[in-house]
Symmetry: C2
DNA sequence: ATTATATAAAATTTCGAGATTTTGATATAT
DNA sequence: ATATATCAAAATCTCGAAATTTTATATAAT
């Protein structure tokens, strides 16, 4: 298995319930799982600690970051800030091409959310939903013109998902949430910047209280 | 030399003119300089790429990031966003203790800037100034209550300094800049949030045009 | 002269073993 | 019973050499 594949596989596991929060990531175990040397694993884990998905402590190895209500609040705050700013920049610079992409991304997300809401949420469907939700929020900021902003948002978004894991799975598909995405789309297409910021904030607001992880 | 020292030493060199922009960071060379193995160097470089101070490309090793006017503009934009948000949060939550720390940090910065402005800027003085300027801007957001925001700001600030290196050294000490710091302090102490945001923006505005790196 | 190919040199990446440090268990003392 | 000290097991970290890949050089072909 290629190192880049090991990286992707581990990353996916880290943001989608593949490990317990706080679990130790032992080189020896992972070495066997991926059939490579301990140094290669060590390297991949360093790269993942790069983006905050793995915590590293000198002489004490690597761990999955603990779940923490405060951390989730901080990450949510950053998402509101970065997605709000990035979306406003996209509104100004994106043009029709961006509006088209956003509409398409929302259509797909809306489709899968409705489907899950009506039936049950199988693991397969949840995986598809996770991709569509990520795509929608990334499309919002995709025309902002700042690689730096997109990169930071990518880091924050991944850590946000990792904090949440499946804790909030049910809520993600209730009609309130489906409505939220529609309102963000509508506000963005209307070009109303402060309204768009507000709708993004409202969508994420339930994670700003600490209740989502039970405080 | 301890690995943590290697990390610090390299980091300092990377943000203060110790390397050319775009320079290759060869493991063999650094291995000899710090008298350790190639793997140790490799690890440190991975950690520095964690925070964006070193760029890494598969099979092509590590480099000092290129200087780029666009990148500087993006980093400046992020600084305005993060320092503005963090300072406003500090105004709300910091209390007298924060105000006292901010006043102290400004006093030290003001002192050194005046001194350099009157005389010439020796390398020693510039190093002291760099510390004082970093301290002032970090104190602004120090009471924001978000470890995540502080961490991201730290990354952005280091990359910002790395982009600038000594390109803008002269301007850093002219009276305009000294005035800027005083106005940020005054606005923050007055508790006027939008004015504080504006003063932080104005202070950094010259880096938003591209002129600083000559576009 | 320019492009393409083959070869050599140099740099990066992987590896497993040895050295170091932490962790956990057991024994001893307060 | 609590705390401290000692030792063994386990994990992490460092290292230098071997394997792989890139880069540079020289040769041949168009």
């Amino acid at each position: 298995m290629q190192e880049v594949d090991i990286y992707q596989t581990l990353k996916r596991k880290l943001v989608s319930n593949g490990f317990e929060h706080g679990a130790k990531l032992r080189a020896e175990v992972l070495r066997k799982e991926f059939d490579c040397s301990a140094s290669t694993i060590r390297e991949v884990l360093f790269r993942l600690s790069t983006v905050g998905l793995v915590s590293f402590q000198e002489q004490r190895g690597f761990r999955v970051p603990e779940r923490s209500p405060e951390k989730l609040i901080e990450l949510t705050h950053m998402r509101v800030l970065l997605e709000g700013e990035g979306t406003v920049m996209s509104i100004r610079a994106g043009g029709v091409a961006w509006e088209a992409r956003l509409t398409a991304a929302h259509h797909q997300l809306s489709h899968i959310e409705t489907r899950i809401h009506e039936a049950a949420a199988s693991d397969d469907l949840v995986a598809i939903w996770a991709g569509a939700e990520k795509e929608f929020h990334e499309t919002l900021i995709s025309a902002c013109g700042s690689k730096t902003l997109k990169q930071m948002h990518g880091q924050i978004y991944a850590q946000f998902r990792q904090q949440l894991m499946l804790a909030d799975r049910d809520f993600d598909f209730i009609s309130t949430n489906i409505e939220h995405h529609a309102q963000i789309l509508e506000a963005a297409l209307s070009g109303n910047e402060s309204l768009t910021r507000k709708k993004i904030h409202d969508h994420l607001a339930r994670h700003l209280t600490g209740e989502t992880l039970g405080v």
